[in-house]
């Protein structure tokens, strides 16, 4: 029934357009484009009968059997004859699976009768700044349709709407009360636009467009350093960086004169493509993939065009030529990269920029000086290491884990798998003067990630302690045989007394046995009992050793070479790195350790570096192996003009043109996308295609007005303020029957729209309303808990997942680690895109899996607990319910709603036992308040019910 109504509604809208003269752009182009251009359009290779209808001069050209279009004479026009024909002569032919409706046929006939005027495609027309107002344009259409606009929304609804729209967070009960009293909307908008949360919301959407993610997307889908780019975007929106500068910096920041770090960071844009480290890829093929991705992204984000379609052929509907695709690609031919982008080791992730703080930078310089001052150590001489494997006298572990050892000294951890655990192993060390303690950790296929730790992709031993007959022993230097992990997890991290640092393995491919050799500051003699404590206290959960052995040595220098290694020699790079250990130079050891830790702490980001441009050829049919195509130089699509540049045009020239007055597309694209944020659909609904197959805008003058305003100063906040302060924005979203019938999709904006919030906002609402939200602007991504085994289909390495601990796990959705091939399930379920490709038009669905997330995902259960604890402070039942309703839905509950919840309260209390109440309240890491547990647990189920309401996840 609903569907029938919706169909009828749309029909009425179309019907209303029939009155009056036909407009080519509004009425005719969409028909021609969708049904005719495939065979009679710009693409020569698929053109039939030599006929093209996208240009008037061609369509009027007489042929043997007459002219396709005879202006003013539909009967004589072949096109009109054929669309009304029966049998095999009918156009479009049956094989095209395109059927013209009788309404469309009539429109075409009327258009020809009216002289068949053509118009240039609307989106490509120059933009002119003209006076006008949003409400003027909207009201005209509303009146024309005979509708009456909805009244203004009440203040409660309005503050929730504008707060969600501008910040992605719900207003607090106090903010709602204040606005209900003051009604000062302008001040409210100012406050929201100034907030950091505003930047977070805008960033979230921008990251979709530029396909930002934290992992590389192909093959092993490993994490790469990208988050400083997100910080760049956050700061740009927060400081209201003009959009032209924002554009220039991202597309060509490295080519600006004396680029700043910030400008170079912005160029990570081009490095956010998916990359592959799979052995056996054909580098050229992947370079072609990366470049095509850039063309698709830049053309969709800035030009609203589907230039990507022209990779294999001329565009079928728009005047983009294959040549244009490759000419655009040529702008990016200077980007320095490899086809195979290594995901580990020294060369991992290609060109990067280090982003030290001033303090870090100064310290780094000092350390470099210290290290440079140390004379080069003598060449490494391999010795036969002599390790005496120790069979533990006894061993124990904290946190429920158990340790078992065998006669060969192998210790295996089993039992519970706690986040952190300290292993304590007692050795009988009598009889010798020991100089070194050795710790060998073994990898095993059954262990995840790098195969060393019990429940994390990495092993991190934060400290090794040794006690001789109860006396703590000092270590002087440390060394390890690991290859890939040493900057982040250096050997010295295990003896520096700091919990934040540690030794271990964090990626796959390191030796099967990772060894740590620790030299005692003084040889240990006359000891009977040596107790070794191995601490695992890192920020990574379950990064605990699974299988290991302890050994002792009496050698003056005992190298970290695993016992039984066939060639007992350190690899040259390891020997060089461990020079301080081999020479015993303590100053060098300390300086190098500090430098390693400092380098690993310094933020890094992949960036664009320019070099000699590769030759760009047109690839026939997109085939990267075919090198017979013509060489092209960088150029903008031909029909959009020509860059006023002598010689080879650069990315900076491209960026300058994009934000120039000569390009009308960018402002239209951005204004259209921005409008969608505040009304639910674009003025032209197809956000990524303003071309011929896109949608004729519902309000072309409005779109041009907004675009021209935006182009005049590129001021994002001003554009947004213009929209949210309109009357149209502030209307009620409750439709009248007349609105539902005539305009079910709300394309006329006689009312506001209702729609579900984005995936991240679903999370943020629950966190904010419950008080769990941890506000921290910018910085590295976080990993919220997720179900075990969710990453089981990944490999290289086999993955486990170590959830973030402490308050940072409650950060906003925009900071969630974006694993392209397995996005966090709660985000994916609520339609967040994988960001493998540019996405400017998120879909929104309504599924049972969403219900399961809101009901059972531990973070939402914990939010229910935290919210219940807030509710508990209220004295009355109604007061408690109203607090939850106001926090989540922005309004108090109705009496009927309170009664439903009272019923649930009664039923729940009848079911709860002291034990189940305690189970329920154990949710998450939020400490439990002092309260009657049955009462609090029941409140928690009420909070959970309210968190699950459609209204909670709906913006209205």
């Amino acid at each position: 029934m609903m569907e029938a109504m919706r169909f009828l509604g749309l029909y009425l809208l179309v019907g209303s357009q029939l009155s009056g003269a036909v407009s080519f752009n509004r009425d005719i182009r969409p028909i021609l484009s969708d049904t005719c251009f495939r065979c009679h359009g710009p693409d020569q290779s698929s053109r039939m009968a030599g006929l093209r209808l996208d240009r008037r001069e061609d369509a009027l050209q007489a042929r043997r059997s007459g002219a396709p279009i005879v202006p003013g004479n539909p009967t004589a026009s072949l096109v009109i004859q054929r669309i009304f024909a029966d049998g095999p002569r009918i156009m479009p032919p049956e094989a095209a699976h395109k059927v013209l409706t009788s309404g469309q046929k009539s429109l075409l006939r009327q258009w020809v009768a009216e002289g068949a005027p053509y118009e240039g495609h609307w989106a490509y027309q120059p933009l002119e700044r003209r006076p006008g107002s949003i409400d003027g344009f909207i009201n005209a259409r509303v009146q024309q349709a005979g509708l009456t606009s909805a009244p203004p929304a009440d203040r409660r609804t309005l503050i929730r709407r504008v707060t969600l729209d501008l910040t992605g967070l719900p207003p607090t009960p106090a903010e709602i009360t204040a606005f209900e009293q003051s009604g000062d909307y302008d001040r409210l908008v100012d406050r929201l636009l100034d907030s950091k949360a505003f930047a977070e919301k805008q960033t979230m959407l921008w990251l979709d467009a530029v396909r930002y993610a934290d992992t590389c997307g192909f093959h092993g889908d490993n994490a790469f350093p990208a988050w400083p780019y997100r910080d760049y975007v956050l700061n740009a929106f927060h400081q209201n960086k003009p959009f032209d500068a924002f554009t220039r910096e991202q597309i060509a920041g490295d080519l600006l004169p004396n680029p700043t770090r910030e400008q170079r960071t912005a160029t990570a844009l081009h490095r956010l493509t998916r990359t592959s480290a799979e052995g056996g890829i054909q580098p050229k093929e992947y370079l072609a993939k990366y470049a095509a991705d850039r063309v698709r992204t830049v053309s969709a984000v800035w030009l609203g065009g589907t230039l990507g379609c022209a990779e294999c052929h001329n565009h079928k509907f728009d005047p983009y030529l294959a040549k244009d695709f490759y000419a655009m690609k040529a702008f990016f031919a200077d980007i320095q990269e490899t086809g195979l982008v290594p995901d580990r080791g020294k060369e991992s992730w290609g060109r990067q920029l280090l982003l030290p703080t001033p303090t870090q930078e100064a310290r780094l310089a000092e350390l470099d000086k210290v290290i440079a001052a140390v004379p080069a150590p003598p060449a490494y001489q391999a010795r036969e290491p002599h390790w005496v494997v120790q069979t533990p006298v006894q061993q124990k572990a904290s946190g429920g884990a158990t340790l078992q050892s065998d006669k060969e000294g192998l210790v295996i951890a089993a039992g519970a798998n706690p986040d952190h655990s300290t292993y304590e192993i007692t050795l009988n060390a009598s009889g010798k003067d020991w100089t070194h303690l050795g710790l060998e950790v073994y990898s095993d296929e059954s262990l995840p990630g790098a195969n060393f730790a019990r429940g994390s992709d990495r092993l991190v031993i934060t400290e090794v302690e040794a006690l001789a007959d109860g006396q703590r022993l000092e270590f002087s230097v440390a060394a390890t045989n690991t290859i890939f992990s040493t900057k982040d997890l250096p050997a010295g991290g295990a003896i520096d007394g700091q919990k934040q640092t540690g030794w271990g393995v964090n990626t796959y491919g390191d030796p099967r046995a990772a060894m740590l050799s620790l030299r005692f500051a003084k040889p240990v003699s006359g000891t009977r009992e040596l107790v070794v404590r191995i601490h695992h206290d890192s920020a990574w959960r379950r990064a605990t050793a699974g299988r290991f052995r302890l050994a002792l040595s009496t050698e003056p220098i005992a190298e970290p070479i695993p016992i039984g290694t066939k060639v007992p020699k350190l690899p040259p790079e390891v020997a060089e790195r461990e020079a301080a250990f081999l020479t015993g130079n303590l100053d060098l050891f300390r300086a190098k350790l500090e430098r390693d830790l400092l380098l690993s702490a310094i933020a890094k980001v992949v960036v664009t570096e320019s070099g000699k441009p590769e030759v760009t050829r047109i690839l026939p049919r997109g085939n990267w192996m075919d090198e017979s195509g013509a060489v092209v130089e960088p150029a903008i699509p031909e029909f959009l003009g020509k860059l006023p540049v002598q010689g080879r045009a650069s990315r900076l020239d491209l960026a300058n043109w994009i934000v120039s007055k000569e390009n009308p597309l960018t402002a239209r694209v951005f204004a259209n996308r921005t409008w969608r944020q505040f009304f639910g659909t674009g003025i032209s609904k197809v956000l990524d295609d303003l071309g011929s197959q896109g949608e004729w805008p519902t309000h072309p003058e409005l779109l041009d007005y907004l675009a021209a305003e935006f182009q005049s100063d590129w001021n994002v906040k001003r554009l947004i303020r213009l929209i949210v302060t309109s009357k149209a924005y502030r209307r009620s979203s409750v439709p009248t029957p007349a609105m539902l019938q005539q305009d079910p999709e709300n394309r006329l904006y006689a009312r506001q729209s209702r729609y579900r919030v984005e995936a991240e906002t679903v999370r943020d609402i629950a966190l904010a309303a419950s008080g769990l939200l941890h506000e921290e602007f910018g910085g590295p991504s976080i990993r919220p808990p997720q179900p075990d085994g969710y990453l089981a289909a990944l490999n290289y390495p086999i993955r486990d997942y170590s959830a973030t601990q402490g308050p940072r796990q409650y950060r906003r959705g925009v900071y969630v680690h974006w694993q392209r091939t397995f996005l966090h399930p709660s985000l994916m379920t609520f339609d967040a895109p994988s960001r493998e490709e540019c996405t400017v038009n998120r879909v929104s669905s309504n599924t049972p899996l969403q219900a399961l997330v809101l009901l059972n995902d531990p973070i939402f259960v914990e939010a229910a607990k935290a919210l219940a604890q807030r509710m508990y402070a209220e004295k009355t039942f109604a007061g408690r319910i109203n607090l939850a309703y106001t926090s989540l839905l922005g309004r108090p509950a109705t009496q009927a709603e309170i009664e439903v919840l009272r019923g649930l309260d009664t039923k729940t209390r009848a079911q709860l036992t002291p034990a189940t109440a305690a189970d329920l309240l154990r949710a998450g890491e939020t400490p439990q308040i002092a309260a009657d547990e049955q009462e609090l647990a029941s409140l928690m189920t009420l909070a959970r019910a309210i968190l699950n309401l459609h209204g909670t996840v709906t913006r209205n």
Binding site: E3, F218, C309, M625, Q693, P787, L794, R922
Partner: protein, 454 residues
């Protein structure tokens, strides 16, 4: 408007996604023509099974073992890990045997599958375009190498809806082989792409809740969950009355379905009702997450009306240790594949269930490192049974060295067109508007392979 067009029409409208009530997803018989298959069980052998050891016997290759691969085959062709290496012929590592009345020749390592060859059609002339795992999987599943296109399971549910009121229409199961050659598989392979996520494949987890977040939080028993959902529904109804928003009605239905999933999935996963003879026939052990158990689970899903069931069995990437590796894989899949087809047949379900067995590409006739084969795209084999497939035949052929599909080659798009055809869908007409295009599973090509239709 045919139902398919109607759905596509709704998909184009602004807020159209999700506005259709659950019931319309349940609609059946919406096809373009009479369907032969109601559902698909796709036994996806991930990693690239070697057609030369499994399905495509090449005595000539054995004869040329150790000799240089003639350049006429390889010149100008794509190549993966063998880039820059000497290309030497590598003979089949296992003998072949003829099976059944049809006498179809397949590996002697697959006697059980041999016993069902009279029910199956073996295509020996598949080819693809992508030579690395991830893009090749993406092409095989979505018909495109661009991320963001719907997978074939999503297209099927989008086109036909589902017949199950309490299970998703598209379910994915993944099992790992024991050979340690398991390439990663991205969730993109069962993604709904630009279609709404309700068409997405739901991957059942092999540990923990089979469906994510299926289990109630600690402290909430079934009764309490039901009470909560009742209360949520009552509150939603109040909102619905006040606002008349049809999305609220949909959400109410989704909570009902979520609850039904919570109650039905444990029963689905519980093999207790299966007789010992069935468990033995498959070689399934409850809870082991093996390919065999997944085959049995696939039958149970099929019985419950799930439209598209895709099993991934990983670990076919035999760059080295090919001989032993294929032996191991054969042991893991032979019995269960045969048992599934026989079981479906016995239950009268094979007629309307299309079973597909195959991977993302084949492997080179050339040796890699003396004991393996590299990725290969120009020719490989697929096994199909039931659901309107002509039984007991072979179709197409590769050249004498098993390099290129030369006789009646079948592209990925042809395969998709045929699969959709059997489901009652004209692949040219199942489209969705995206970035100005009428996007379809078969891209811009693809023809139904008439020669394999019953």
């Amino acid at each position: 408007m045919t139902p398919l067009h109607r759905r596509a029409f709704l998909g184009r409208t602004a807020a159209g996604f999700g506005l259709t009530a659950l019931q319309s997803l349940l609609a059946t018989n919406t096809a373009h023509h009479k369907a032969k298959a109601k559902r698909v069980i796709f036994l996806y052998q991930a990693g690239g099974p070697s057609h030369l050891e499994v399905f495509d016997h090449k005595p000539k290759l054995a004869a040329m073992h150790g000799q240089g691969m003639p350049e006429s085959f390889t010149k100008g062709q794509q190549i993966a890990q063998l880039q820059g290496k000497a290309l030497l012929c590598f003979g089949p590592q296992h003998p072949f045997q003829r099976y059944g009345k049809s006498g179809t020749e397949i590996s002697s390592l697959l006697p059980k599958m041999g016993s069902i060859m009279d029910d199956a059609c073996l295509i020996r002339s598949m080819w693809t375009e992508q030579i690395n795992h991830d893009p090749a999987h993406t092409l095989m599943n979505t018909g495109s190498i661009l991320a963001g296109r719907p997978s074939m399971g999503s297209w099927s549910v989008y086109g036909l809806g589902t017949e199950s009121a309490d299970l998703p229409g598209f379910v994915v199961l993944v099992s790992n082989g024991k050979g340690g050659q398991a390439q990663p598989i991205a969730a993109r392979q069962w993604s709904a792409g630009m279609l709404p996520s309700k068409y997405q494949g739901v991957k059942f987890q092999s540990i923990g809740d089979p469906v994510l977040y299926l289990e109630n939080p600690p402290g909430i028993n079934a009764r309490m969950q039901q009470d909560s959902i009742h209360a949520i529904t009552a509150l939603q109804r109040l909102e619905q009355q006040a606002l008349g928003d049809p999305e609220v009605q949909t959400r109410i239905a989704q909570y009902e379905m979520a609850y039904r999933m919570q109650t039905s999935v444990p029963g689905l996963m519980d093999f207790g009702s299966e007789p010992a003879s069935v468990m033995e026939a498959y070689g399934a052990k409850p809870g082991d997450g093996s390919f065999a158990s997944n085959c049995l689970l696939a039958r149970r899903l099929a019985e419950r009306g799930v439209r598209f069931i895709q099993l991934y069995h990983r670990d076919w990437d035999h760059h080295g240790g090919l001989k032993k590796g294929v032996e191991l894989k054969a042991a893991e899949v032979d019995q269960a594949t045969a048992a599934l087809i026989s079981d479906l047949k016995q239950r009268g379900m094979l007629d309307d269930t299309l079973v597909v067995w195959g991977g993302e590409f084949g492997r080179t006739p050339m040796s890699q490192g003396g004991d393996g084969r590299d990725h290969h795209i120009k020719g490989f084999s697929y096994l199909l049974a039931g659901g309107g497939i002509k039984p007991g035949i072979t179709y197409g052929a590769t050249d004498e060295l098993g390099y290129e599909a030369v006789d009646q080659p079948v592209s990925v798009h042809d395969f998709h067109a045929t699969m959709l055809h059997l489901l009652g869908i004209n692949h040219l007409r199942l489209t969705v508007k995206y970035q100005g295009l009428d996007v379809r599973l078969t891209g811009i090509s693809g023809e139904v392979v008439k020669g394999i239709l019953a």
